[in-house]
């Protein structure tokens, strides 16, 4: 089956180009920073609009995740090289996790973010660290209740990933079981040799494209979303944590930048496009990830960037990218490694 573009609308529409033009986006980020720092009285007005934008984006997450995986897997299964691709996926996952974790450790060792802190800052940070623990679950659960990682082993996590009741997983927004279910459904549909296969594939593809269309409309509002979502974040951050944790944040940004550069290099080499095109393609998914703090929300934009702009194979991308988004919380890995590092170094030196 010939797969068409993920976004069913031409991205060259002048209004879309204006909305996602780097200048207007930069302008929006600037306005957001300004409001966040100087006009906090606007927050009560901005936050509900930000929530509306966020909810609209979140609404499309599960359907897109499901339909992308189902149609991607169904198109891949039975093709030569599918097993090889899975092996590569696992290998890439491990390598990337190691690279990302390694970058975190390296920067942590070199920078010792927790040392040389004043006593009062240490007490303050101890609170902040323990209260921000659920932040690391954000990539796993979009809207469902956050599950504590305290006593979860890998096996527990795997057991929880099996959907006992797929409807309750869907209603609870538990992404891992949904992804696993979609994987099996895609495999089964791909191997179906009846005429219903065509219908099911058309339904999955149509669903993906319809929801991508909704996402494409939401791009119009990206500058508004940036202002409404980013301004309160800037305000909150500027208010409390940044000053005592400046060192930590700076080093985290360094570690993240290292990972970003490595990722960009990989994408550049593998896509064989010029660096400017790669950078341009990464703008949208990065911005969405940035303002929403949720890697799954940017999934449709990641798919659009990788397939439409960088011309990676559509069906493989549809399979690999959701799996990586669900399972590979690379940002969280850096953050986790970091937190360990940080709390250790700050307790060792009283």
């Amino acid at each position: 089956m010939k797969l068409e573009s993920v976004f069913p609308f031409p991205r060259t529409h002048p209004r879309i180009r204006l909305a996602v033009h780097p200048i207007s986006l930069l302008l929006a980020v600037g306005v957001a920073a300004l409001i966040g720092l100087k006009a906090k009285w606007l927050f009560p007005g901005l936050e509900p609009i930000g929530s509306i934008y966020l909810f609209l984006l979140e609404m499309t997450v599960i359907p897109i995740l499901m339909s992308a995986m189902v149609s991607g897997v169904a198109a891949l299964v039975g093709r030569a090289g599918f097993a090889k691709m899975i092996a590569r996926l696992l290998a890439a996952f491990l390598v990337m996790a190691l690279v990302v974790g390694g970058a975190g450790v390296a920067v942590g060792m070199l920078g010792s973010p927790g040392s040389r802190l004043e006593r009062q800052n240490q007490a303050f940070l101890a609170d902040v660290v323990s209260s921000s623990q659920k932040g690391s679950d954000l990539t796993v659960s979009v809207s469902g209740p956050a599950v504590s990682h305290r006593h979860t082993t890998l096996l527990d996590l795997l057991a929880q990933a099996v959907p006992r009741n797929v409807f309750s997983s869907l209603a609870g927004g538990r992404v891992l079981p949904i992804a696993l279910f979609s994987l099996f459904l895609g495999l089964a549909i791909g191997l179906l040799r009846e005429k219903q296969q065509g219908l099911l594939l058309r339904v999955a593809e149509g669903t993906l494209r319809a929801f991508s269309a909704i996402n494409a409309w939401l791009i119009y509002l990206l500058p508004v979303g940036i202002i409404c979502l980013l301004a309160p974040q800037v305000g909150t951050i500027a208010g409390s944590i940044v000053v005592p944790m400046l060192r930590f944040v700076a080093l985290f940004i360094v570690a993240a930048a290292v990972c970003l550069v490595i990722s960009m290099l990989i994408i550049w080499v593998r896509s064989a496009r010029n660096p400017a095109a790669v950078l341009r393609a990464m703008v949208e998914p990065s911005l969405y990830a940035f303002i929403t703090g949720n890697s799954l929300i940017s999934l449709p934009y990641e798919l659009g960037a990788l397939t439409d702009r960088l011309h990676f194979r559509r069906e493989s991308t549809q399979f690999v990218q959701p799996v990586m988004s669900v399972a590979g919380g690379y940002g969280s890995i850096v953050f986790f490694v970091w937190r360990r590092f940080f709390s250790r170094s700050s307790t060792v030196r009283p």
Partner: protein, 693 residues
């Protein structure tokens, strides 16, 4: 003697007639007033019935809105319709709110109550209080407590479903409607097969759930008895007396609105008042008794579409949307109730406070979307809050009389939405439609399109369009390039009945192109795939099904079970059969199946008799022919008849119809008459029809 089928139809007709509904209401009243214990026993059955109805609500709303919005988004005239819909809808919402407020101002439901009534209300609250809400205090003279109310923006935030599936699980109707509209537009704008498949899928869901509703309507009289008897038994009369003035005023306002609605529907439908009243009887009674506007939705749709002839697709869309958002009954009730509470507390009202009542009851009413019963009453706080009046204190009174108020609220929602629908949606008037279709065709005039039959007679030729693809058993190339099949036979039958020649015009076109060709007057009837409404949709009109000699596969019973587990409907591939299969030489089937099966797997026989024999002897696994032919020969041979228990058929369950352009819809009765006549003449002479040996 009547056949079992006819008896069944008689029973269904009897149970669904308005009279049996009225009779069951009467029975329920008797049971409710005189036999409380029986009412108690019936209660769970009534609830079961209600739950079954409610079960279908969300699927119907979601599927109806998605498929109709998608259909509208596909069509070009959507913008005008939407604008009209929004204007009428908003105007009617405001009108309902203003009417309710006026009723409250003129009627003074809460002021001028005598001392005894006030005492009764106070004591009711005290006794009810322990039952429902022990922490609430009612004092009619205490200053009202101010409460902070959720604003408009929070209301909008709630409309957006963060997770569609959790919205489905918790039945958030507003959020689901928002999603369905958005998804419907997105599907409608998708090009190609995917959009079509999704529309067909949701349309299928909608039709399936309508089917379930149709079954439930058959047992409606029993459901009514069970539901109503308990309601009547559980309503106390002393509360009713104390609240009599409020109830009377609400009912007076409500009845005025109902009368206005009926007048609107009567005017717009251009039917006699008797027809309109007969059509409205079902939705009125169902809404009064189920007290659920959603459960009444299918009945209301049926009344408007089938009995009053409003345009189907738009009615589906508008009523589903309207019943969810247009909570006219709740709006009117909230306005009257707010004024009742204000007057009860002796709070002074000025124009700005009346405006708050109008706007508050409007939004409060809309916010009750998806809520029912006591949950609805809780939203009264949206009106009372800005007025600084406490809801908690008076909620008990409203709960106590809700069994009396709820039916009218539901009726008002239903009938006002039906009136709004009548104002918005055009009637499926064949004459009007014909004019618009004719106006779009270049060079076409109404006279030319006036009558398909006279047009064919004038031309002396019946032109039947079809796809070039062989489509047995309807139409496939036969001996010497002539086409044969049931569709061809019926078409030639129609041509003979009209006294004209038949011209088959088979073109290698896609379904959409065929529809266009027919619409532009390239032919009179469309053949072949015209049974596939999912392909041609509502763009064409269809005749009654004609007699089809269905494709059939003859198998032994054991083999049939095995094959059925491997195939679906008509799809058969060579993988299905492990051994040889048989066909008759030079038949349509021989050509078709030899193309499908690998060479050497198909065995040809000179006669049907030989072929059937070889199935019985186990030489071939299956035989392909038409069912009429196979059955005829099996009946002829005593040996086969005796062993018929070991023979099975696997059929295509399709019904074939001719399609005509919607501009020719007036000619359908005449065509159907010819088809019915052909069928009645062919049936008794079926053996001759398939040919003697």
């Amino acid at each position: 003697m009547t056949s079992p089928k006819q008896q069944q139809n008689l029973v269904v007709g009897l149970l669904t007639s308005p009279w049996s509904i009225l009779v069951s209401v009467a029975i329920a009243v008797v049971i409710g007033l005189l036999f409380h214990s029986v009412a108690e026993v019936l209660k769970p059955f009534g609830l079961m019935y209600l739950y079954l109805l409610e079960m279908t609500v969300l699927p119907i709303i979601v599927s109806a809105i998605i498929s109709s919005v998608a259909g509208l988004a596909k069509s070009t005239g959507m913008r005008g319709f939407l604008l009209r819909m929004i204007l009428v809808f908003v105007a009617m919402l405001v009108a309902a709110s203003v009417l309710g407020t006026f009723g409250g101002i003129i009627g003074h439901p809460g002021s001028g109550l005598d001392e005894q009534t006030r005492n009764t209300l106070g004591s009711i609250v005290k006794t009810q209080q322990s039952q429902y809400a022990p922490d609430l205090e009612l004092s009619l003279s205490a200053p009202p407590v101010h409460r902070s109310q959720p604003g408009l923006i929070d209301f909008i935030v709630q409309i957006i479903p963060q997770n569609i599936f959790s919205a489905l699980a918790s039945g958030k109707a507003l959020a689901l409607i928002f999603f369905s509209i958005l998804f419907g537009i997105a599907i409608g704008l998708l090009r190609g097969e995917q959009g079509e498949s999704l529309i067909a899928l949701f349309d299928g869901f909608f039709k399936a759930f309508q089917k379930i509703i149709a079954w439930l309507m058959v047992v409606l009289p029993f459901g009514l008895i069970c539901l109503l008897a308990d309601q009547i038994a559980s309503t106390g009369f002393h509360i009713l007396l104390a609240m009599l003035k409020f109830i009377l005023i609400f009912y007076a306002v409500g009845l005025i609105v109902v009368l206005i609605d009926i007048a609107i529907i009567w005017q717009r439908s251009r039917e006699s008042l008797g027809t309109v009243m007969r059509a409205l009887l079902d939705p009125i009674i169902v809404s009064l008794v189920t007290r659920s506007s959603f459960a009444t939705l299918p009945t209301a749709i049926k009344a408007l579409e089938q009995k009053l002839g409003f345009y189907e697709r738009s009615t589906n869309l508008f009523l589903s949307l309207g019943i969810t958002l247009g909570r006219f009954g709740n709006i009117i009730y909230f306005a009257v109730a707010a004024l009742f509470v204000a007057q009860l507390y002796g709070v002074g009202m000025d124009p700005s406070r009346y405006a708050i009542v109008v706007i508050g009851s409007l939004f409060g009413g809309i916010a009750t979307a998806g809520a029912s019963g006591i949950a609805t009453l809780n939203l009264l706080s949206i009106v009372l809050g800005p007025l600084g009046l406490p809801l908690e204190a008076v909620l008990i009174i409203f709960i106590a009389i809700d069994a009396i108020a709820d039916p009218l609220r539901t009726l008002l929602i239903i009938i006002t939405n039906m009136a709004a629908n009548a104002l918005i949606v055009p009637k499926t008037d064949p004459l009007n439609r014909r004019q618009t279709v004719a106006a779009r065709l270049p060079g076409a005039t109404i006279e030319e399109h006036a009558d398909l039959i006279s047009r064919i007679r004038k031309r002396g030729e019946l032109v039947v369009l079809g796809g070039a693809r062989p489509f047995p058993p309807v139409c496939a190339p036969g001996i010497e390039g002539l086409h044969e099949g049931s569709g061809v036979e019926q078409a030639s039958g129609i041509a003979a009945a009209l006294g004209v020649k038949l011209r088959l015009d088979l073109r290698p076109l896609s379904p959409a192109e065929l529809v266009l060709a027919l619409k532009e007057g390239g032919g009179d009837l469309l053949l072949g795939e015209s049974n596939a409404r999912s392909v041609f949709g509502e763009e064409l009109a269809y005749t009654e099904p004609y007699l089809t000699s269905k494709d059939a596969i003859l198998l032994t019973k054991a083999c049939l079970a095995e094959v059925k587990s491997m195939t679906d409907g008509g799809k058969t591939s060579f993988k299905t059969f492990s051994r040889h299969v048989g066909v008759v030489e030079n038949s349509v089937h021989a050509r078709i199946w030899k193309r499908i099966f690998p060479a050497g797997k198909v065995r040809e026989y000179q006669t049907v008799v030989e072929m059937v024999d070889s199935v019985l002897n186990g030489e071939v696994q299956a035989a392909f022919s038409t069912e009429v032919e196979l059955r005829y020969w099996i009946a002829k041979r005593p040996r086969w008849s005796a062993s018929a228990s070991c023979l099975g058929f696997s059929n295509l369950p399709a019904e074939y119809r001719f399609a005509v352009a919607t501009s020719d819809v007036l000619s359908l009765p005449a065509l159907n008459e010819i088809i019915a006549d052909l069928k009645s003449r062919i049936s008794p002479i079926l053996p001759a029809y398939v040919g003697e040996q």
